[in-house]
């Protein structure tokens, strides 16, 4: 079963970290990625640029309009994702719980990815 782990955090929070915390944070990320590669659970993942660089397209007066800035105005923003293929939702949550952003006030959403296989309907 594939899960996407959506990483939400406060943009720029790493700027306020001490060098030690920052090094630890990136080290932990590297360590998790290495482990997931080794177990054959890592499908992929991307980090996103600062939300200041975001363009949002939405309907304004009946037509699509492009505006500067993110869709949601909230303190936490979507910062990137990680896709894993693992045997249980518990395992996916366990991976999410270790992601260091959580420790610094961020949040991870664990969301199942839709699949094409289907049982027969009665």
């Amino acid at each position: 079963m594939k899960y996407m782990l959506l990483i939400w955090n406060r943009p720029g929070f790493t700027e306020e970290l001490t060098e030690q915390d920052r090094t630890a944070l990136f080290g932990e990320v590297d360590e998790i990625m290495r482990e997931l590669t080794e177990t054959g659970e890592l499908v992929g993942g991307q980090a996103l640029a600062n939300p200041a660089q975001t363009l949002t397209v939405r309907l304004v007066d009946g037509s699509a309009e492009v505006v500067d800035g993110p869709f949601m105005e909230s303190k936490e923003q979507f910062a990137g994702y990680l896709t894993v293929d693992c045997d249980s939702p518990q395992r996916a949550a366990e991976i999410a719980a270790r992601w260091p952003d959580v420790r610094f006030g961020g949040a991870l959403e664990v969301r199942p990815i839709m699949d094409e296989s289907a049982a027969e309907e009665m």
Binding site: V43, D85, D115, E116, S117, E120, M122
Partner: protein
């Protein structure tokens, strides 16, 4: 020129035989498995153009053995003493083995031993699936990755790790003892059924590779049946897969939508697969104690024997579900049984059977429970509640075709209100 498909079929048949032979000679399952893959790749590249050699297995054996020998030579510095001894034996010198080097034991035993090894309890379900497809099915890592919509690197690592785990668990290339054997065979059956269901998609586009998994599960099921003709559950699983796969052409409508069993055009069912499946399960049930796969296949056979949905013998299906619930109690069985009860005794009786499942943590909140309840509420004429239940099921599923189907049912009911 030789047809690519003929070559592939030949290679896939030879793969487990070759691997069994190598592991028997050299031990080191991990390395032998890699060497077999390389030999298969070399053959797949060369044979279509140059023709299949007179003795394809000897050819593959020579290439695979040479790979092993080359690897051992290049590691000479680290090589341990046992290996040094092994390398002095003439059979390991990288030349074609003499004809009498053919296996002393039948290949059949090796393939079974391999299947059991790939389904070792130290492995997770997904690792068992990947390793079975590669070591027994002879599929390449790239093919397995494509079928699972995963990057090749992920699949490659998963297989490597599975092999390491088997080694770390101290598993030997030998049949498990009688006590363990039965349990392991159940795992093999589960893994094959898992592969089958992974491939049971409703899409013909990007998931074409995925759909090939059902064919592979059936192929492996046939091999297992040939090896263990006296196991009723092996026959039952093969029959169940054949009877289910027989609906393939009818279960998807023109716009890619799922068509439920009752509405399928039965003229489009695969009559040959159905005949084979019915014969298999009928025969098995005459001498084998009924197991869960045989009973599920028997239920599928009853459906297959009805020329229209209205002619379905629901009483017989209900009797089979009752037997299944007795020998393998499971809330998922109760769910299906509820449908049969509804068809025999009316929807209210079916709905009553669902009530305890709301308190069972294995089914409470499960989308299949909501989907069955929706179906029964619809039969009972409670349109509003049926619609709610369909929508709840649609929110709970992670299958795109199912979600689409459930939303469609809900939308139809909304139009009736």
């Amino acid at each position: 020129m030789t047809d690519d498909r003929t070559v592939e079929e030949l290679l896939r048949t030879l793969a487990p035989q070759l691997l069994g032979l190598l592991v028997r000679r050299h031990g080191q399952f991990d390395r032998c498995e890699d060497a077999v893959q390389e030999a298969l790749l070399a053959a797949a590249t060369q044979w279509p153009g140059q023709g299949v050699p007179d003795n394809p297995r000897a050819w593959l054996l020579t290439v695979a053995t040479r790979r092993l020998t080359d690897e051992w030579r290049s590691e000479s510095a680290r090589r341990d003493r046992e290996l040094a001894v092994a390398l002095r034996e003439p059979a390991y010198a990288g030349v074609a083995p003499p004809a009498d080097a053919e296996p002393a034991v039948p290949d059949a035993d090796d393939t079974l031993t391999l299947l059991f090894l790939c389904c070792h309890p130290a492995l997770t379900g997904s690792a068992q699936v990947a390793l079975t497809l590669r070591a027994v099915g002879g599929l390449s890592t790239a093919q397995i990755a494509r079928a699972h919509l995963l990057p090749e690197a992920t699949m490659s690592q998963r297989i490597r790790r599975a092999k390491q785990r088997i080694e770390a668990a101290g598993a030997r290339f030998a049949m498990p003892g009688p006590a363990e054997r039965e349990e392991r065979l159940r795992t093999v059956l589960r893994v094959l059924y898992l592969i089958f269901n992974e491939g049971y998609t409703a899409s013909s586009g990007p998931d074409l590779h995925r759909a090939e998994l059902t064919g592979e599960a059936i192929r492996l099921g046939r091999i297992l049946h040939r090896l263990l003709p006296d196991d009723g559950e092996v026959s039952g699983l093969l029959a169940l897969m054949l009877l289910t796969d027989a609906h393939r052409a009818a279960r998807v409508g023109p716009d890619g939508e799922l068509v439920p069993l009752a509405e399928q055009d039965r003229a489009r069912w695969d009559a040959v697969a159905i005949a084979e499946g019915i014969a298999l399960v009928t025969e098995a049930l005459t001498w084998s104690p009924p197991g869960p796969y045989q009973l599920q296949a028997a239920i599928a056979a009853v459906h297959a024997e009805a020329s229209t949905a209205a002619e379905t013998d629901w009483r017989q299906i209900l009797a089979l579900y009752r037997l299944l619930a007795r020998i393998a109690p499971n809330p998922m069985v109760t769910l299906n049984q509820a449908v049969a009860v509804a068809m025999v005794d009316g929807p209210q009786a079916g709905l009553a059977l669902l009530t305890p499942l709301d308190a069972d943590e294995r089914t409470a909140g499960h989308h299949r429970l909501a989907a069955v309840r929706a179906h029964l509420l619809e039969l009972a004429g409670d349109t509003a509640a049926a619609r709610e239940a369909y929508l709840a099921a649609a929110r709970g599923t992670t299958s795109l075709p199912e979600q689409r189907y459930l939303e469609l049912r809900a939308a139809r009911l909304a139009e009736q209100q």
